[in-house]
Amino acid sequence: MEKDDLKKATKCVVIGGSAGSIKPLLQILSKLKASLDFPVIVILHRKNDPRSSLETLLNNGCALPVKEGEDKETLKNGIVYVAPSDYHLLIENDHSLSLDASEKVLWSRPSIDVTFLSAAEVYKKNLLGILLSGANNDGSVGLERIKNMGGKTVVQSPDNAEMPAMPLSAINIFKPDYVLKDSEIAAVINRFK
């Protein structure tokens, strides 16, 4: 085995959120251990604004470096990747990222489902999927696939979400492993093996 392969991610965490998800996301990122041995990928529905400073906002108070995911970049452990606005983010078998500017899915680009489905194919049981607050039903099909491929799934509790539609739409189609308050989610990531 090449030395580089040892550093390459063998498991992964994906987090999806829409309206009302910035606050829980900041809460989660602020509690992550600095020594995670897997990458974290964040898909947020966001406005297509080149001057957006979402990465800066998320970097503040997170022990791990937060960066925008780049085309062909190989995922590394202990880094938080954010999907760029106006592109879908997919994961290749060699654990590198691919961007895709194709049609919106459920009026969204980036689409949470697109990344979740792609990550489920690559990481199978070594994947933890988390779905946060949101006002539409993106993410539920992808999260269900993660579960069906043997991965772990977490949904923000609808009572705790500013916009419960997205968590509810997931809970309505399958039974996630955990339904948790935003303050409880970081612990699941830190324990993820």
Binding site: P50, E70, K72, P84, L90, E92, S98, S102, E103, E121
Partner: protein
């Protein structure tokens, strides 16, 4: 959902029968396009999809139309067009004749956007825009200069943000849910199919625009296409890429220097 092995078989069939090589396309997005097409055309199984594709040349045309991504806008990323207006066109204006290549032109929205900024810089009369795509259907559509009315509000906003100073509606005639752009623009355009994967350089240009095409290619194919662009650019010519694309990781990078913060590079040697 098709498996990696099924996709490999299909890629082999397509190369063998039709001579199109998709082997170096980024697999995750290509697989997604395949699954999308299988669902869209309601094939009950992968086997039936494969059989139809092998057996029916007409269906292969549809495959090419659907497998490639044709999402585009006029003045997509207005800041990019503003940089073209401010940094690139003033340099191009010093040439007696301007040749521009839109590689992967899709349905032509960006080609007409370019024609408009050239006209506003008083350069269109000495410019020629070559617009190519692997997909013959979109090239034909691009050559009409007819676009859907639905998006005109967005395009007008983009145009204004790009530094446009005129009333955008002066460039088109509206009717029947369609808008028809000033047909005289077409006197400065040449439309043709061209496959970046297999075909070679066909001219020398001062500006090559290839936006949101290279993201669908694997790294080695990207490097190959950058070499093709290098061969097709005059010294001091410009290469313009999509907002999330870069020449940085490819060997051709050594010859290029980025212009400002937009995804525009200049060939230095």
């Amino acid at each position: 959902m098709i498996t990696d092995e099924e996709m490999e078989m299909l890629l082999y069939d397509i190369l063998e029968i039709y001579g199109y090589d998709f082997n170096d396309y980024a697999k995750a997005s290509f697989k997604r396009r395949l699954n999308r097409l299988i669902t869209l055309d309601r094939f009950p199984s992968f086997a039936e999809f494969r059989f139809r594709l092998k057996d029916d040349k007409e269906y292969f045309n549809r495959f090419i139309e659907q497998i490639t991504v044709n999402v585009t806008e006029m003045f997509r990323d207005p800041d990019f067009y503003q940089t073209l207006r401010k940094e690139v066109l003033p340099i191009l204006s010093t040439y007696p004749f301007i040749r521009i290549w839109h590689a992967g032109c899709s349905t032509g929205e960006e080609v007409f956007s370019m024609a408009i900024i050239l006209k506003e810089a008083n350069l269109l009369h000495k410019s020629i825009l070559y617009a190519t795509d692997i997909n013959a259907k979109v090239v034909t559509q691009a050559s009409t200069g007819v676009f859907n009315m639905m998006h005109m509000k967005q395009y007008t906003e983009n145009y204004n943000l790009s530094g446009g100073i005129h009333d955008f509606s002066q460039y088109y005639t509206a009717g029947n849910n369609k808008v028809i752009f000033d047909q005289s623009f077409k006197n400065h355009m040449v439309f043709s199919t061209h496959n970046l994967v297999a075909e070679s350089s066909f001219n020398e240009f001062q500006l090559i625009v290839c936006r949101n095409v290279l993201i669908y290619f694997e790294k080695d194919l990207q490097a190959k296409v950058f070499n093709l662009f290098d061969e097709s650019l005059e010294r001091l010519g410009f290469l313009a890429l999509g907002n999330k694309e870069s020449i940085r990781l490819s060997p051709a990078n050594a010859k290029f220097k980025q212009v400002g913060t937009e995804k525009i590079w200049r060939k230095m040697i």
